[in-house]
């Protein structure tokens, strides 16, 4: 039988329907489609896909289990390497990882590995009542700072090896960026809760409302009997552009906008936490977070949503799939434009006018691409006298974050680089004995899966460290 040159399409909600609801965009493969897609895998000898996976899932093995209709076995293969398969199957940039290495991809479209992973995880969550077995305790205590992807992965791996693991989370809910950052329509929150529950049944303890660096310090964790600590505290303070008008009412960081909608559920009909809804919205930036913010704004009821990005489509750092989804939903991409000022309402005759201080527009300047910079990306250059005003009521700034200072400021001898990221070795070891770190706290804003990879690496190093201590 000839190989189907194309991946089986992911069934999605219709763009114009989904643009107005918070339900998940992608609906997932059926069993039949999953088996048919699995059969596209040619089981090549050198298995390049595995090396493309930051947590080295045995991809050909789980795909062959799908071919045989043994979905639970497929899940068991994945869970040997990944603590969060239902999450990764949804948010990993497979096109630049496993799927980019796929042998089939040389001639055709690669195997839809991400879609298959998601199928297997969802099948397991729907059909399996089996709780994972707790490993026999080895008596060693490890503390994990932060319950985002790196922390949960590190916790899961250590718990599977018998460690007594406690995760400390600053917010009131576990999941980190998976719950406050990534929106419901891309990653439904019950899926995150389910993955967290799986970790709990492995014996992982989760302490919410504890801010490490404030409520407790790293040193106090050692005093409490923890023998090793993993810091996965995530990205920190949002960056702003430093242009006039960024403190006007209606200007949000993407972190704040997404946290209000996702974690605090401002999207509900009668929320307790407010958010500005409707009107015209400009999102500044071109990453995945910018796409999430733009699509969230649309679902909250915006009449018009713009992405304002200073480079062109080719340089847009967001995943292609997210960009395509955004375009389908009607997000207007204002490329090669750079904001220079956010404009606000000001009634000179009435300082008490309630509209005073709210955003009325954003002044932008047109850009063109010049010479490549040191990273090879063509540098955007302003076109003189090309300023124009975009008529908007809300501006969401999504241009990255700077590391959170809380742990650095309260932990002696913890080395950080000049951007404030924690300095680690290849194994994730920091400048302090027994203290490991990974994820955005080390690298600055990156992907869920790279954070998971770092959590996994650190778990292995912590295991070796404590075994040899």
């Amino acid at each position: 039988m000839a190989i189907n040159p194309k991946k089986h399409e992911m069934p999605n909600q219709e763009p114009l329907v989904r643009a107005r609801n918070f339900d998940e965009v992608a609906l997932g493969y059926s069993e039949e489609i999953a088996i048919a897609e699995a059969e596209r895998c040619i089981t090549c000898k050198n298995q390049p896909c595995v090396s493309g996976c930051p947590v080295n899932i045995d991809i050909p093995n789980f795909i062959s289990k799908i071919k045989d209709g043994k979905f639970q076995d497929a899940y068991n293969v994945i869970s040997l390497s990944s603590s969060l398969p239902a999450v990764c199957g949804r948010v990993c940039p497979q096109e630049t990882q496993c799927e980019s290495k796929c042998t089939l991809g040389i001639k055709f479209e690669p195997v839809g590995i991400g879609r298959l992973e998601r199928f297997v995880a969802d099948w397991h969550n729907q059909n399996s009542k089996e709780l994972p077995q707790k490993a026999e305790s080895n008596g060693h205590k490890v503390a994990i700072v932060g319950s985002g992807p790196s922390g949960l992965t590190c916790a899961g791996d250590l718990a599977k090896s018998g460690y007594d693991v406690t995760v400390f989370e600053a917010l009131h809910l576990a999941g980190g960026v998976l719950v406050y950052g990534i929106p419901e329509f891309r990653l439904p929150k019950p899926i995150v809760a389910k993955e967290v529950d799986t970790l709990k049944s492995l014996g992982v303890k989760i302490e919410t409302n504890v801010v490490i660096g404030k409520t407790l310090t790293i040193d106090e964790l050692f005093d409490m009997g923890f023998e090793s600590v993993f810091i996965g505290s995530g990205a920190g303070l949002p960056n702003f552009m430093g242009i006039p008008g960024e403190s006007l009412k209606g200007v949000y960081s993407a972190n704040e906008f997404l946290t209000r909608s996702n974690l605090m559920k401002s999207y509900l009909q009668t929320p307790e936490t407010p958010i500005m809804k409707g009107g015209k919205v400009a999102v500044v930036g071109g990453g995945n977070v910018a796409m999430d913010a733009a699509r969230t704004a649309l679902r909250l009821g915006a009449d018009k949503v713009y992405i304002v990005y200073r480079r062109s489509m080719d340089e847009l750092p967001a995943r292609k799939e997210e960009v395509e989804h955004a375009i389908e939903e009607g997000i207007d991409f204002k490329l090669l434009n750079n904001p220079v000022e956010i404009l606000g309402y000001n009634n000179p005759d009435n300082p008490r006018d309630e509209k005073n201080g709210f955003v009325t527009g954003m002044k932008c300047i047109k850009m063109e691409l010049g010479e490549p910079d040191e990273r090879g990306r063509r540098r955007p250059v302003e076109i003189p006298n090309s300023e124009f005003t975009l008529d908007v009521d809300t501006v969401i700034i999504s241009i990255g974050t700077s590391p959170n200072p809380l742990i650095k400021n309260t932990t002696d001898n913890l080395e950080v680089n000049r951007w404030g990221g924690i300095v680690v070795t290849e194994d994730g070891l920091t400048s302090r004995e027994g203290v490991y770190a990974g994820g955005d706290a080390v690298t600055g804003a990156a992907t869920v899966i790279s954070a998971m990879g770092a959590g996994k690496t650190a778990a292995k190093a912590i295991d070796e460290y404590l075994k040899n201590k």
Partner: protein, 284 residues
């Protein structure tokens, strides 16, 4: 879940609670704050720590019933629980080395000013306290301030208690008569703090102000609490949750902070009204 150990009405709109939160109690210092959620669907609100009891593991909070969340919090009785309570957040007020200090509190801000006054008093500083309220019924913590102040001025807007006038009146008098303070620490409504700064400016007395902007996480993630400071002619963005809540009063852009504080005033008014209505109907 965090248990309400004691609850006391300080005046008809201001309530004091002690919450069992030993980890927070163990660390909290004057000037720091906590964030709480009353129930599972509730919003996160910051409240400054009004005192701690390390032996009992309790943290004292004092809040004014101004919106839906503080209204719901006030419906809770002693022995009941609130959903979340996290802290201590922010930097403590810097009091080291201060010998002579003027503490100025306005309204419920006095609840935050009091532990700072107490800490200074315990450190041997000379403390002058000026506390201001709208009227006699709203006066709180008079005895507590008396106990830790070398001098205490009580001001009311309508003269129904203490002296009629605002908190700047006694400050102006003292400064004009040549009195020197190492520091003025002021906590209260933004407009009051702005006027305190203006009163102190001609005399070059350092002023510390305590900012209480809208926050969500309180740990340096969302950026909602940002303020603009004017530092040596340059505008600098700071975050009240991790850089504050105390700032150099001469640097804070108060007008911007006041404007930002009103971002959701419409929403808050409606939420408060519907919370009250729900309660009247027996729905809560």
């Amino acid at each position: 879940m965090y248990k309400i150990i004691t609850k006391k009405e300080l005046n008809p709109t201001v309530t004091q609670m002690e919450i069992y939160a030993p980890l927070v109690a163990n660390k909290a210092q004057p000037g720091q704050f906590i964030i709480l959620r009353v129930d599972e669907s509730g919003e996160r609100i910051p409240l400054t720590v009004a005192g701690v009891n390390k032996t009992e593991g309790t943290v004292k909070i004092i809040f004014q019933i101004v919106g839906a969340t503080t209204f719901k919090l006030n419906q809770k009785a002693e022995g009941e629980f609130i959903e979340d309570f996290v802290g201590p957040l922010g930097e403590p007020t810097h009091i080291a080395g201060l010998k002579k200090v003027c503490i100025i509190g306005g309204g419920v801000g006095c609840a935050i000013a009091m532990p700072v006054a107490e800490a200074l008093h315990n450190a041997g500083a000379d403390v002058t306290s000026i506390i201001g309220f709208r009227n006699k019924d709203l006066v709180i913590l008079e005895n507590e301030f008396n106990a830790c102040s070398n001098r205490l001025f009580i001001m009311t807007d309508d003269g129904s208690y203490g002296t009629q006038g605002n908190v700047c009146a006694p400050l102006n008098e003292m400064l004009a008569s040549g009195e020197h303070f190492d520091m003025i620490i002021t906590i209260g409504p933004l407009v009051m703090m702005k006027f305190v700064v203006e009163a102190a400016r001609p005399y070059n007395v350092p002023v510390t102000v305590s900012m209480n902007p809208i926050m969500i996480d309180g740990t340096g993630m969302c950026g909602g609490c940002r303020l603009t400071l004017n530092v040596d002619g340059k505008k600098v963005t700071k975050f009240a949750c991790v850089d504050g809540p105390d700032f150099n009063g001469y640097e804070v852009d108060f007008d911007e902070a006041m404007s930002r504080g009103r971002m959701y005033s419409d929403f808050e008014r409606h939420a408060y009204e519907s919370a009250c209505n729900l309660f009247k109907k027996g729905g809560m």
